[in-house]
């Protein structure tokens, strides 16, 4: 599905809102050290049924938005999201239906790749990282949260994409 420039521009307010919610509400509902990664979920949900160009834009916008609020260098979150979009972009057009198994697999592997990439980047930037402890304290709970929240996020993003697609066909 090729979406219009409108779709890319829409990433700004959506990611802005997601980053604000990520930095304010998510710390209040953390399980151990993990919480839902809204930016990751939005980028994943978008890229499944969007072309690569659009997915890369969403990855950059989302990653930069969340990094502006963090002490991590800007771009730290983008790297993992780039791996994600290049692996998943357009996969929705190559399978008959995005089912439960595929989505669960994408969330689990994607969360792992994104979190490990982020840890590597901040480790290189001079932050201390506890690799082994991190898996049980942060990555596992984050994966759990993402598995629950992917469904409403994917539903929302899919509706948005269909609406944009209808508008682009009419115009």
């Amino acid at each position: 599905m090729r979406l219009t420039t409108t779709a890319n521009v829409l990433s700004l307010p959506i990611m802005l809102l997601a980053a604000a919610i990520q930095a304010s509400f998510v710390p209040q509902i953390r399980l151990l050290g993990g919480g839902p990664d809204l930016i990751f979920l939005l980028v994943l949900a978008w890229s499944i049924n969007a072309d690569l160009d659009s997915s890369v834009v969403w990855a950059f916008v989302g990653g930069i938005m969340i990094d502006l609020l963090s002490a991590a260098p800007t771009g730290s979150s983008v790297m993992g999201l780039l791996f994600l979009v290049f692996a998943t972009s357009g996969i929705g057009g190559q399978v008959y239906q995005i089912g439960f198994t595929i989505l669960v697999g994408l969330v689990m592997i994607g969360t792992l790749v994104q979190q490990v990439t982020f840890m590597m980047v901040i480790s290189l930037a001079g932050f201390r990282v506890s690799w082994l402890e991190d898996f049980s304290y942060i990555i596992a709970p984050t994966m759990l949260y993402n598995l629950v929240l992917i469904w409403p996020v994917y539903w929302f993003v899919r509706r948005l994409q269909r609406r944009l697609d209808r508008r682009s066909i009419k115009s």
Binding site: P27, L69, A71
Partner: protein, 284 residues
């Protein structure tokens, strides 16, 4: 066509990765700090609004869950208040005597040399691995990197980044945090480090040091990064292993980091730069 598409995708991936790596590098070097500050403005503003709502909602939810407990606690506190009012009268008399005696001896036990600037906490770092907060004062208010930050007299952390109207504070609970400290009672020295779990641990305590639960842990001032005698927390448990060269203690901070709304920056303290001595030590 299929081969061309694959090649383009790989080239595109390499291009994006290099672009991202470049962005990370310049950001880590601080070269785009002003740009980041400008871009972060609207995001920070919106996050600050959401954070107020989030904290209020969280507090309300906690209170609703504890209504019965709060009623019982209220009754206990009212009874205690009546008792303390009687003790207050006696203590005021003692305080008055103390004031007269200290004036005679020209002695002061309070930290009147510290200048404090109160700031609101705008938001917390969204990453679970990096524990920082952003406060609403910056260079325009006289804030500089390295200034210590406290809350109700207890150490919160240290300013690490400053913009015109905001500052980022590295919390003592962050894994990168390292505070030279001592036990208030025995005066034994050690270092307080943050853990991934958000707790504190005092390490490098001499084996023969007497450490007890409840001991206050304060800053020692060694290293010049913090003023002396700032409260960090209380010892909650002691760890001593048979073949270790030092002992460790778990420290419970007196600050509730999850619900911080206001902090105070110590603006009259400047960190001491000892790097020149370290470079001299390396010379033969």
């Amino acid at each position: 066509m299929r081969t061309t598409w694959r090649a383009n995708r790989i080239v595109f991936f390499l291009f994006c990765t290099l672009l991202c790596a470049g962005l990370i590098t310049v950001s880590a070097a601080g070269a785009i700090g002003p740009v980041e500050g400008i871009l972060a403005g609207p995001v920070s503003f919106l996050t600050g609004l959401f954070n107020d709502v989030a904290l209020s909602s969280s507090a309300l939810a906690a209170e609703l869950a504890e209504i019965q407990t709060l009623r019982e606690r209220n009754a206990e506190l009212e009874a205690a208040l009546a008792q303390f009012q009687a003790e207050l009268v006696e203590l005021r008399e003692i305080a008055s005597d103390y004031t007269r005696l200290t004036e005679l001896a020209e002695y002061s036990s309070t930290r009147e040399d510290l200048e404090l600037l109160t700031a609101d906490v705008i938001y917390y770092d969204p990453s679970s691995r990096i524990r920082t907060i952003v406060i609403n004062v910056g260079t325009r208010d006289g804030i500089a990197a390295g200034m210590p930050v406290v809350s109700a007299g207890s150490l919160v952390g240290r300013v690490i980044q400053v913009s015109a109207n905001a500052a980022r504070v590295l919390l003592v609970t962050d894994e990168s945090s390292y505070v030279s400290s001592r036990l208030q009672t025995s005066r034994e020295e050690g270092s307080v480090v943050g853990l991934l779990t958000g707790n504190l641990r005092m390490i490098d305590i001499p084996l023969d040091a007497e450490v007890q639960e409840g001991d206050l842990v304060i800053t020692s001032g060694l290293g010049g990064n913090f003023p002396t005698d700032l409260v960090i927390g209380q010892v909650s448990s002691v760890r001593q292993f048979e073949f270790e060269l030092s002992q460790e203690a778990e420290v419970r901070s007196l600050v509730s980091f999850g619900t911080l709304e206001f902090v105070q920056v110590i603006t009259s303290f400047q960190p001491i730069d000892i790097s020149v001595f370290e470079s001299q030590d390396d010379q033969p």
